[in-house]
Symmetry: C3
Subunit: 160 residues, 3 copies
């Protein structure tokens, strides 16, 4: 349980499963495992109790880039929480592959990479430079569900 | 031909290949098969004759969430039509893996998941909870080609 | 070195590695190789010296569709440059699989496919219709990093 120990060392706490916003129905799994391939659904930032974490709104307007960096860190922890529930042990993740970072952006916000660094920094600090390395895009969306400022989907690999 | 029988049972009709809008040139396949991996290009909603299906415009303005849910259902049928033409038999799809749902959104529309449920509901009703399960994101785009309200790309697996 | 010869024949020059805009930190690789799978991070258009290439801004406003087509061609060359540096030899790419084309769009710009054709045309002219074929989406983003007009991520396969 090396990754768990690393999380504890860094003081990272993984949130509870997403507490669905009122009226929402999400007929898909947060993590889809198929052989060694693991597809991670789009996650938002969560509070420790599993509810969505604010601030809500658009980066470049209601949400500052610094706040959005923190939101992206929370998305990383939410995804690690989903992976742990699905896989049992986070050590099973042998390689991060693709990270797609989506920022709820005003039309003139252009610092998407600095926001998604919050996600990459968590993953690299936990998994290290080899297993944690990932191809990445960081781009501006017109809007995101429930007005979350950041949503991230990803693909990782596990040992057969 | 279990999937075909299921489609008939549900009354689902797969549309003809996309009738390209005037002036458009699309130099790529709707489905890219490589070994067991099948990549599905971004599809919009189609009418049975293959032309793009309205309503057109932005969800949150000209297009209601309920209308967009129906559009997402039509996208599912369009994708199943492309898969059938490429694979010959829809039973060859053994697992849905990743679904990326894009909604042509106003900046303040935030119910993207409810829209893309139209797609997930069709896939789950046809393929069932095991093969049909998929990781998913549902997000708001600034604009989509030809003003379609919904576009979806996906990856599935087939038997070798 | 068939692909290199083809590039020379076509007069295509691959740019130097991206010269990072001032203040930017990008803690991820441009290309993530894992076994036979190769994930390509989101790339923008680059000048031969590696700096980002204009015009900058939104397609449908400051940037014309024709200019954006040229930007998409430059993205293809930037990606080929990254692949060459990572793989050593561009002949190792045996199949293009997925191309995700993102256009910095005004809310009413709807010709995204015509823009991303600039990318597809380069890849098909270099790799041919078989290895170069790719599933594709071309969609409108609210904003992109550093105001680039086009960003593209992709997945390709290499020989084991």
């Amino acid at each position: 349980m090396k990754i768990e120990a690393r999380l504890e060392e860094l003081g990272f706490v993984l949130p509870a499963p997403l507490a669905l916003p009122a009226g929402a129905r999400l007929p898909f799994p947060w993590v889809r495992v198929h052989g060694k391939r693991v597809f991670i659904s789009g996650h938002g930032p969560q509070q420790p109790d599993g509810s969505l974490a604010g601030p809500f709104g658009k980066v470049g307007a209601e949400v500052s880039p610094e706040q959005a960096y923190e939101s992206a860190r929370l998305v990383a922890l939410a995804i690690l929480g989903s992976l742990k529930r699905e896989l049992g042990d986070l050590d099973r993740v042998t390689a991060w592959l693709r990270v797609f970072g989506m920022i709820n952006s005003t039309p003139d916000f252009t610092m998407q990479p600095a926001v998604i660094n919050g996600f990459s920094d968590v993953i690299l600090s936990v998994y290290g430079e080899t297993a944690g390395a990932h191809a990445r895009s960081a781009v501006g969306m017109a809007s995101l569900p429930f007005s979350i400022p950041v949503e991230i989907e990803a693909e990782v690999e596990i040992d057969g």
